[in-house]
Amino acid sequence: MPRTARAPWRWMSFLLLALTVVAVPARADTPLQDVLQTVQAEVASPARGTIPDVLRALLDADAPGTLEFLRAFADREVVERPEDGLFFIAQDGPDRSLILIDVDSGAEIATVTTRDVNQIRPNAGVRREIAAALVQFELSAPDPARRIAAMDAIARSPDPEQMPILAASIPDEPDAAIRARKERLLALLTARFETDSATRVAAIEALTGDVSTEARRVLNQLLQTEAGHAQFVPEGVNIARIRVVGEDLDLLRAHARLAEDGLVPPRPGRNAIRDALRAHVVDGHVGGIPVHRLTDEATRREAYRALQEDGLVPPLPTEAEMRAAVAQFTFYDRYLEDDPAVTTAARAALDSTRTRVGLFQALNLSLEALSLASIFFLGAIGLAITFGVMRVINMAHGEFIMMGAYTGVVVQMFIPSHTVSIAVALPLAFAVTFAAGVAMERLVIRHLYTRPLETLLATFGISIALQQLAKNIFGPQARPLTSPDWLAGAVRLNDIVSISTIRVAIFFLALMFLILLIYILNRTRLGLEVRAVTQNPGMAASMGINPDRINMLTFGLGSGIAGTAGVAIGLFAQVTSEMGANYIVQSFMTVVVGGVGSVFGTLAGAGLIGFLQKGIEWFNPANTLAAQTYMVLFIILFIQFRPRGIVALKGRAAGD
């Protein structure tokens, strides 16, 4: 059984890899070489009976480098120097020489020939012992991280021999969570490798409703099929389905499958026919047909049949012949797993898990959509305010987002702590873009209130100038805006539902802005004046409100929000000079769909667009571009039916 003998080394090297990642703490005890010398004879000539003592000695001492040594030991890379009895790890050098590596320092000691040292060759039994001991040791290691790493390694490359070791480590497990994980892992191994059918079925039934990727992978592995065919369906084969030629199996494909097994002569394909014709050109004719006429399939087949009658080429079977040949066989898919009870149980378990998986996927999608909606909302709300109050379209809005993000980048250059720098950057970005917005309103937009289309163009001019300026100052490459560590991870419910912490934070930021804006608009003097100017600027002016001042403040507010949003967006997207341009069209869509001049409208618009985009992505997950295309098309159609958006201002306030 060479396969099973080899298998432990494969997963053991995974295990070792996992362990080296889990930083080995510095241990200032005896060097490994000294430990090895205490069991010198047993290491030099390892045997099944003595190896447990060696392993116990090594693992108890737990000197640094033990794991590497054991891997080398198992891979037959350890040598003994006869002069002093020291052990080294040997690597192949040039010209069949060996490079000796010190087991403690990992340094290259010397280059020798194979004759200078004794190569130690543990047999398969010893190597299995080593592997098992290693796993056992790691599964009961005092450090929980190492225990988890060991289980990850087992889950990645499972093996039947791990079952007793894993089972043995469960009773002593102190941590309840790790214990549960161990039990589940054992169930997975049992489902896959157990020999007793009833135990396996029980283990599989226990997996019903488990939505973790590991469990579903095991179930899917049990249900793997391979195509087969035979004259009569053989006994003892676990058939998944019988295929009917012509219905769920193509005739040509079925014939080709028979040909692959040499049961029928292969049918020459188009290229084979062409090559055969090429090989039999005689005086510009093939099978009596002039070469220049061979420009369509039918003529070529005709020429081929002529060659076939002369016995020059293998026969081209007619459809009837192929049907007759295929009819003698039954085509089926068989499970690789031979036990029908197991596959039936696995199928049932998987089917009942599917509904749960679907529900969780829908939940995950909703979370993603919510996150996307909050990003759209953050990007669009500033625009909605300026557009709503002033009927002015600000094409440079995206550049304010960019400006905010770059403010964050600059702040991070001066303040090394990420948490503090973000806390400083958020208000600073608001201040910077507020000032920029006010300046733009005073210098440019004020003069164009009567010409809205030209505002669009002028702000566009500002937009391209600002983009290029940012590129000149910060360079064309993306700048990092690093989030604090406590925002780096993800909130995970299970293997399906998870969302990165940063997106949760952005959701709350959006929520905060929503509440803040509603408060400002509905509960403050400024809000009252803003609403008055929104609804009727002329009347508002007659009531003693200064529309100029309101316009300026509104524009500053909208721009400031864009800047703050820029910091948030920069945390998960790349900060480049073009980042604003990526959001501007979507922000406009959000405003237009939601309805101009209403916070709730923008909220509804962002929600609709976010959920819609994620919904479309669900049908075609690989293609985000297609989702965006269809979404824009949908919005164009949507405007047909509600030209003023979801939340439309009514009456005279609507302006016309």
């Binding site: 062409r274 014709l277 090429r278 050109v281 093939v286 070469v291 220049h292 061979l294 420009t295 369509d296 399939e297 070529r300 009927r391 379209i393 094409m395 440019v444 003069h447 164009l448 010409r451 809205p452 289309l453 030209e454 669009l456 163009l457 002028a458 566009f460 001019g461 500002i462 937009s463 391209i464 100038a465 600002l466 983009q467 290029q468 300026l469 590129k471 000149n472 341009a581 069209v585 406009f588 869509m589 237009v592 293609n623 571009l625 297609a626 965006q628 295309t629 824009v632 098309l633 919005i635 164009i636 159609l637 405007i639 047909q640 039916f641 030209p643």
Partner: protein
Amino acid sequence: MADIARPVTLPGAARPAPPRRSFLREHPSVLWFMLILGIFTAGVTLLSEAFGIGLVSTSLVKILGMTLCLCLLAVAMDVVWGYCGILSLGHFAFFGLGGYAIGMWLMYARTEILVRQSLEAGTIPPTEREVSEAVASQIFSVVGSNELPLIWSFAHSLTFQLAMVVLIPGLLALVFGWLAFRSRVTGVYLSILTQAMTLALSLYLFQNDSGLRGNNGLSGLQNIPGFLDVPQSVISMWFFWASALALGLGYMLFAWIVSGKFGSVVRAIRDNEPRVRFLGYNVEGYKLFVFTLTAIIAGLAGALYYPQAGIINPAEIAPIASIYLAVWVAIGGRGRLYGAVIGAALVSLLSSWLTGGGAPNIDLGFYRIVWTDWWQVLLGFGFVLVTLFFPKGIGGLFDRLVRKQE
């Protein structure tokens, strides 16, 4: 109003027919434009490498020819925006669609010629299917496919693809315009909607499975099937002449359309749409006609432009390109056709001169102004200044000249 001011004629007496003046006499600018265009074309021809003394290089001829196409596009944009008041941010997309339509034929036909050459070297001639499969794998291997997409079914036919140059932008504009105008979407809303259309189109074309080679676009378009052995210096002149002719004809067509009664109605729609509607005009019909016609002309201009550029990809169609188009027209001066031509020619030539590294950088001692970096900043702020202080653009200078003479 004019009737009231006119002296009262005796009842029964025939009203004197208004003097019929020729179209060209009424619009002297058209004549001037044709004259300048003709002199320019002749001049470039005489200076070209292929037919003249070789002072103007082939690549410059191509740039000039492409500029003429952009001028035609700008004229179309001026009609739809400057005369009809629809700030369309989709006309560069129509331009690109025209380029794609002709590009499909150019690419297919050229690949087919090459494929046939290599296949016919074999002992037996290829079947049609083998040819089309080989062509497909040549064209689409770059996006990991070797099947000919459905939209390429007629790519071998020049007539069909030429029809598509007109039909695709035309039909798209017709359907989109009909939807937008009938729901009375106007002003900035309409601009955003057209921008959304452009965005959707470019996103669609960016996909690898759009059947148009994703972001690789179509390339090798400068090689004209059937004339593969004609040198580029000659082909570039052919396209230059064709572009000049197209610009001349297009200018004349639009000048004729915007003059006369139709033009008056279109301008009235720009100035006060509800009032024109109340007067009983079918505003949507007028707008739809102008929108669709300009889209078709834009498609034709694109079909002439991209064989000179040699490559087309979805980035060309991105919303920003359409906005640049609006910038050209605004700088040149809206509401006058020659203004659009001046704006497009000036800004696009200046832009390719400055960003192409042709212009000398200015060393200020403490800072070095590199034009490739600062041109966009200059253009952006310059554009803001033009919008604020010269709403009539460069064309407005002509008005001042004329006024001074009077």
